[in-house]
């Protein structure tokens, strides 16, 4: 029973992440939606699948390895894209920008 709840929760988080990428105003806030919702939704769905699969234990552990790799790789890529977007010249819509104070 708990695996179906986890599956539905992950799907809802994925849908909200997609809506966030469509609705947020600039690149950095879109990256917030992309990173957190993708990582959370993917990890929840993969844990549900590991509980659901009819397979030996080593194969179930492979789902957890996939979830771990997603949690390790996704923030790194978003960090690189955010830094690249700042160097590309996109001004963030923010109230205070301490990064621009130090790099005039």
């Amino acid at each position: 029973m708990i695996e179906y709840l986890l599956l539905a929760f992950g799907e809802a988080i994925m849908v909200f992440g997609a809506l966030g990428i469509l609705r947020f105003p600039d690149v950095y806030t879109r990256l917030h939606a992309a990173t957190k919702c993708d990582t959370g939704g993917a990890m929840t769905i993969l844990i549900a699948l590991a509980l659901m699969a009819h397979a030996p234990t080593l194969v179930r552990l492979k789902f957890l390895v996939l979830a771990f790799l997603i949690a390790l790789i996704n923030p790194m890529v978003s960090h690189a894209i955010a830094r690249g977007a700042y160097k590309y010249g996109i001004k963030p819509k923010v109230v205070v920008d301490m990064y621009a104070w130090d790099n005039p």
């Binding site: 957190k36 949690a71 923030p75 960090h79």
Partner: protein
């Protein structure tokens, strides 16, 4: 003149830090065994069968690889206690607790982003915080954890005069004071990381 003095001071501090750290570097065979303890379970899980021939091939291959790549993972680990204590503490206490903490943080941040999408109550800003970690691996894990905690995204890392600063994009700015913002953003993750990385 001013810039020359600043660069010189920075070089001296970096060298002092490196010598302090090199004095307590862990020996070579311990580094090989720690890397091997990480790589062998990964081989077992990814290859997916547990016949003795497969396990033997995997043990030999990962031993060769870990003797070549011994500095990549374990160069920044604190050397305290002997190897058995450290390995058991890492595998049975430290990593599961960090995994459970981070899992609940990820769920909380997903729910919070969903709330922000529905009500659009955002007030973004980029703040600068200071961290006590100095090694590359420690800063990487801290930056990834900050990205996964609710409402924050790491932009850049800057080292200046032997201290490390992080620039963080915060979706709902509460305070601009550096210490308070650091308390709010880092939380207890930094304490956990300081137990292993220097």
């Amino acid at each position: 003149m001013h810039f020359y003095l600043k660069e010189r001071l920075e070089e001296v501090r970096k060298r002092v830090l490196y010598e302090q750290y090199a004095a307590r570097k862990i020996p070579t065979w311990e580094r090989i065994i720690l890397t091997w303890m990480v790589l062998l379970p990964f081989w077992l899980v990814v290859s997916g069968n547990s016949r003795p021939a497969n396990v033997a091939i995997g043990a030999a291959t990962t031993l060769i690889i870990s003797s070549l790549m011994r500095d990549m993972l374990t160069l920044d680990v604190r050397s305290k206690g002997n190897i058995l204590q450290k390995g058991l503490y890492f595998m049975l206490v430290w990593a599961p607790q960090l995994a459970v903490i981070m899992m609940f943080r990820i769920l909380e941040s997903s729910v919070r982003v969903a709330r922000n999408v529905m009500f659009m109550d955002i007030n973004p800003g980029i703040v600068k915080i200071k961290t006590d970690l100095n090694s590359d691996t420690g800063i990487t894990v801290l930056a990834n954890s900050i990205t996964l905690t609710p409402g924050t995204l790491t932009l850049d890392v800057r080292r200046k005069l032997g201290e490390t600063y992080l620039y963080v994009h915060w979706i709902d700015v509460e305070t601009l004071n550096r210490e308070k913002a650091g308390e709010e953003i880092k939380g207890d993750i930094e304490e956990w990381l300081k137990k292993i990385f220097w």
